[in-house]
């Protein structure tokens, strides 16, 4: 064989082009989708639903940011504003961020990464999706029937006895959505436990699956507590049973304990999947084996575990005792350590790598910056006396948007771009995708960084109107909101365009080694045409070499790996 800069494919690897029949076209019609048992179709339906919910939640955000651009009640009165921030929060938390990566990406990718045909319980999976739809309907009913003005946190006694809005409908919707989350968690845990292929022990599986697993543990253990709490809220509100309202003999701070016992682990449900995606992207687009595999894997479990013991850091000013606050603060710092470990391991993965700046990597790098700020600003809030100042101010609002949007949403888009060729069989256009990500990055920072300043200045949150001295930074923040909107619209356009006029996606455009890249794009209905290949090390990227003719990575045998390593180079 002549010495070339590319490697010729061997006969043992699957062919490059997508087969005629795949999971998208093997059956058609609404019923074949809405009652499918195919995890891939369920993932797509979740993706569409989550995008729709994101648009709705985003609309409320733009409305409230537009109102806040100037002091005074400009386009809405206080009652409407209070509804805007409540609905924005409730929709984003329950209908978008919590389901996002597990439901839309996890559902699609997880079984294929395990070389399996589907999840352990496909019917339960469909049921999870239907529960999501029913929960979403309850939120729509909430909107149509008078809205909600309690804040997404539903604090009592305001929510049980001081508002006429659709509280019961909304908490029932959240209750139902909770079961969607629980069942997905059960499904993923069992699938990972029982359906790993030969040779894939826990410590051989991709880090994406470690993230899904840790998330599933939290979903199963924490969500029921929220369910019961919301049920108690509904009972007090409708039947006057005194649990939280002192006028009925209850304790309002008790509600906070119950609520945050779930809602703090919930934020780890939000971020662990994001971190899981980042682990995959950074390795593949640095063309290097992930660094510190064991530490990253264990850190996911550590975060999930410690995350259950810190809920009181939301309550330092609630009237909670000094002793309790002290314990919660101390444990809160313990959760920060594993997150720091991950960041250092990702950076070391990039060291001496070959950095390919395609869209998934641009989102992942954005994640490092934004989650970096978000995580670091959490330190001010875990520290007890600075939290006394910052609690319920805009500093908190900025912090959680940096971690939930800059963290989870950025990782979500990174994952969408990363797995887009596999899911759709289409390639998106790279340059517009990168520009969209960068515009979003600029917009996001202009939108939220000034909110740290507002927090320092003492601006409280959930304020429909504010003193004139806060106006400048609010105006800047609103401008950022519109820049972010532009960026996200560009993302949407870029993705939709790829469906209509994108190029055909090869089997492995990125040169990754996890099992989903060992099957065509898009995959057949049963995920693999024949038996799935042997799993091996998910981060052994030197099994793949770049082939300029097909503009994709091709699988090479061991002897050729050596040749490719010396002479070849990867996609630029």
């Amino acid at each position: 064989m002549s010495s070339t800069t590319t490697a010729t494919p061997t006969t043992t690897q699957p062919h490059q082009s997508a087969p005629e029949e795949n999971y998208l076209n093997c059956s058609s019609g609404f019923l074949s989708w809405f009652f499918t048992l195919d995890h891939k179709r369920i993932g797509i339906m979740y993706l569409v639903a989550i995008f729709a919910a994101f648009g709705l939640g985003g609309f409320f955000a733009l409305a409230l940011r537009t109102e806040l651009a100037q002091a005074g009640q400009d386009i809405m009165d206080m009652n409407v504003y209070n509804q805007m921030f409540t609905l924005h929060g409730a929709i984003m938390v329950f209908l978008v961020i919590i389901p996002s990566i597990p439901a839309a990406l996890g559902n699609f990718v997880l079984p294929i990464m395990l070389g399996a045909k589907d999840v352990a319980f496909p019917r339960l999976n469909l049921f999870s999706f239907h529960l999501y739809v029913v929960g979403a309907i309850f939120f729509v009913l909430t909107l149509m029937g008078g809205g909600l003005d309690t804040g997404w946190t539903f604090y009592t006694p305001y929510s049980t006895g001081h508002t006429d809005t659709m509280v019961t409908t909304a908490v029932l919707g959240a209750f139902i959505l909770g079961f969607s989350s629980i069942f997905t968690g059960i499904n993923f845990m069992v699938t990972i436990h029982k359906m790993r292929p030969q040779g894939m022990g826990f410590f051989n599986m991709p880090l994406f699956l470690w993230g899904m697993y840790a998330t599933a543990v939290i979903q199963v253990l924490a969500t029921p507590v929220l369910g019961i709490t919301l049920l108690m809220l509904a009972i007090e509100r409708n039947f006057g049973l005194g649990i939280f309202d002192p006028a009925l003999g209850g304790d309002p701070v008790l509600f906070q304990h119950f609520f945050w016992f779930y809602s703090h682990p919930a934020v780890y449900i939000m971020i662990l999947p994001g971190m899981a995606v980042i682990s995959e992207i950074i390795s593949v687009f640095s063309r290097k084996h992930i660094f510190g595999y064991k530490f990253i894997a264990i850190s996911s479990i550590a975060i999930a575990l410690f995350g259950f013991f810190v809920w009181g850091h939301h309550m330092f000013t609630s009237g909670q005792s000094t002793a309790m606050s002290t314990i919660f603060s101390a444990i809160t710092f313990s959760v920060a350590v594993p997150s720091a470990i991950k960041i250092f391991n990702w950076m070391t993965t990039m060291y001496k790598g070959e950095i390919i700046l395609k869209a998934p990597m641009v989102w992942a790098l954005g994640f490092l910056w934004l989650f970096g700020i978000g995580g670091l600003t959490g330190l001010f809030l875990g520290t007890m006396n600075t939290d006394v100042y910052y609690h319920d101010t805009y500093f908190v609002v900025a912090h959680f948007h940096y971690v939930m949007v800059g963290g989870t949403l950025w990782a979500f888009f990174g994952g969408i771009y990363y797995w887009w060729p596999k899911i759709t069989g289409k390639m998106y256009e790279e340059k517009p995708a990168i520009i969209a990500s960068l515009v979003s990055l600029v917009g996001f920072n202009v939108l939220f960084f000034p909110q740290f300043f507002l927090g320092n200045m003492g601006m409280p949150r959930r304020y429909a109107d504010y003193l004139p001295k806060y106006e400048f930074w609010h105006l800047v923040s609103t401008i950022g909101a519109y820049i972010l909107l532009a960026g996200l619209l560009m993302v949407l356009w870029n993705l939709i365009r790829s469906l209509t006029s994108g190029g055909k996606a090869p089997q492995n455009p990125w040169g990754a080694n996890t099992l989903e890249w060992h099957t065509p794009s898009p995959p057949p209905h049963t995920n693999f045409e024949a038996d799935p290949p042997y799993a091996g090390d998910p981060y052994a990227l030197d099994h793949w070499a770049w082939d300029p003719e097909t503009q994709s990575y091709v699988h090479i045998a061991a002897s050729e790996q050596e040749l490719a390593r010396v002479e070849g180079h990867d996609a630029l």
Binding site: Y158, H289, N456, L467
Partner: protein, 379 residues
């Protein structure tokens, strides 16, 4: 048991009181360090800030450097390095852990200091409601704004009569939720340095910072820090304002103290509650009001009894077109307070109630000069 341990710990870690009485501006857009504990909070902030700035630079500059130096290009390949290094892992685990330990410690120390009011603190009661604050002073004075003497600890004992609120004074760096059904406390010491040469009073913002419904963002008032003499004079005058002022003027003050202005304009303007000018006119002219009693609509005479019941037990008869939002003032108002309130409301339309003195009234009117009906609904 745990509380006792923490309290013992606290007494051995005496709060770092700000010995310098100078007024220092806060760093990074924080307000002035107007209390004796503000500097400690700000110093912990700065400590964390510089550590975070360092970490951020390491992360962003480090990543940026790697992206540039190892960017994919002709002739550049990834190098196979080690895939794990336990020494590295332990190092970057231990160092952050130690730094976090220090952060936790200084934060805890500061917090304990914020929780432990000095024994000789000047006590003020706080009652929060939707959507105003009422401060009650040792001599019985009440006011919708917080007045405090400078240079001594002040302790607020707080409760709410309806939903959760939270009292926040940024300049003092203090915050505490105000909970219905129990008391919570908060203390601060406004430094002597806040009063400049010749100044006998200075003011700071006080916010409600726990969402409490429609006018949460209007539940803002001020903290007035006084020299001792100025504070004493204010407290005396305020405690006796009902005896010392013409009834309708006293009633206007009581209107603000009881927070009526949060929902009721004294014009025809409708807010959460009806504007009171129309009711005043109906009372004067002997008209009637359409209300809902027990679900059924009725027309009732607009007289003193209706006005009294509307204040003490509003839920008994709700004016048509409004919802049952008004707190019950039964037991919250003395007869004198109720009396001057009613006189004030009647005075809106009826000049007969607006007299400064009996003689001037008999001789034909005479409002107190310079008195304005304060219809400010808050910012």
């Amino acid at each position: 048991m745990l509380t006792h341990i923490t309290a013992a710990l606290a007494s051995t870690l005496a709060t770092v009181q700000d010995a310098s009485q100078e007024l220092t501006p806060g760093p990074h857009l924080f307000p002035d360090q107007a209390s004796t504990t503000a500097a400690e909070t700000d110093n912990v902030y700065l400590f964390i800030f510089w550590l975070c700035a360092l970490a951020f630079v390491i992360i962003v500059a480090g990543t940026g450097y790697f992206v540039w130096k190892y960017r994919a290009r002709e002739g550049h390949k990834a190098e196979k390095t080690a895939t794990h290094d336990n020494v590295l892992e332990v190092t970057w685990t231990v160092i952050p852990t130690l730094l976090f330990g220090v952060m936790f410690w200084v934060g805890m120390k500061g917090y304990v200091g914020l929780k432990q009011a000095p024994a000789d603190a000047y006590p003020i009661q706080v009652t929060a409601q939707k959507w105003n604050w009422k401060f009650t002073y040792p001599n019985g004075a009440e006011s919708p704004e917080l007045h405090v003497p400078v240079g001594r600890p002040v302790k607020l004992t707080m409760t709410s009569i309806d939903v959760l609120h939270s009292l926040f004074v940024p300049a003092f760096r203090v915050k505490q939720d105000v909970v219905p059904g129990r008391y919570t406390t908060l203390w601060f010491d406004a430094k002597d340095g806040v009063l400049k040469e010749g100044q006998d009073m200075v003011e700071y913002d006080l916010f409600c910072t726990e969402y409490c419904g429609e006018q949460h963002s209007a539940m803002i008032t001020k903290v007035f820090v006084h020299e001792d003499e100025s504070f004493a004079a204010w407290a005396e005058e305020t405690a006796n304002f009902i005896q010392n002022e013409p009834a309708y003027v006293a009633g206007q003050k009581q209107f603000l103290i009881s927070g009526c202005n949060a929902c009721h304009a004294v014009t025809d303007e409708a807010g959460t509650g009806p504007g009171l000018l129309q009711l005043s006119q109906l009372i004067k002219g002997g008209g009637s009001v359409d209300v809902t009693i027990g679900g059924a609509q009725q027309s009732v005479p607009a007289d003193d009894n209706y006005l009294r019941e509307s204040i003490l037990n509003a839920s008994a008869a709700i004016k048509v077109g409004y919802t049952n939002q008004m707190p019950l003032f039964q037991g919250q108002l003395s007869e004198e307070q109720l009396g001057v309130l009613m006189i004030y409301i009647k005075s809106l339309a009826d000049e007969n109630y607006r007299a400064e003195s009996t003689l001037s009234q008999l001789e034909g009117g005479g409002e107190v000069e310079g008195t304005e009906t304060d219809t400010d609904q808050g910012e």
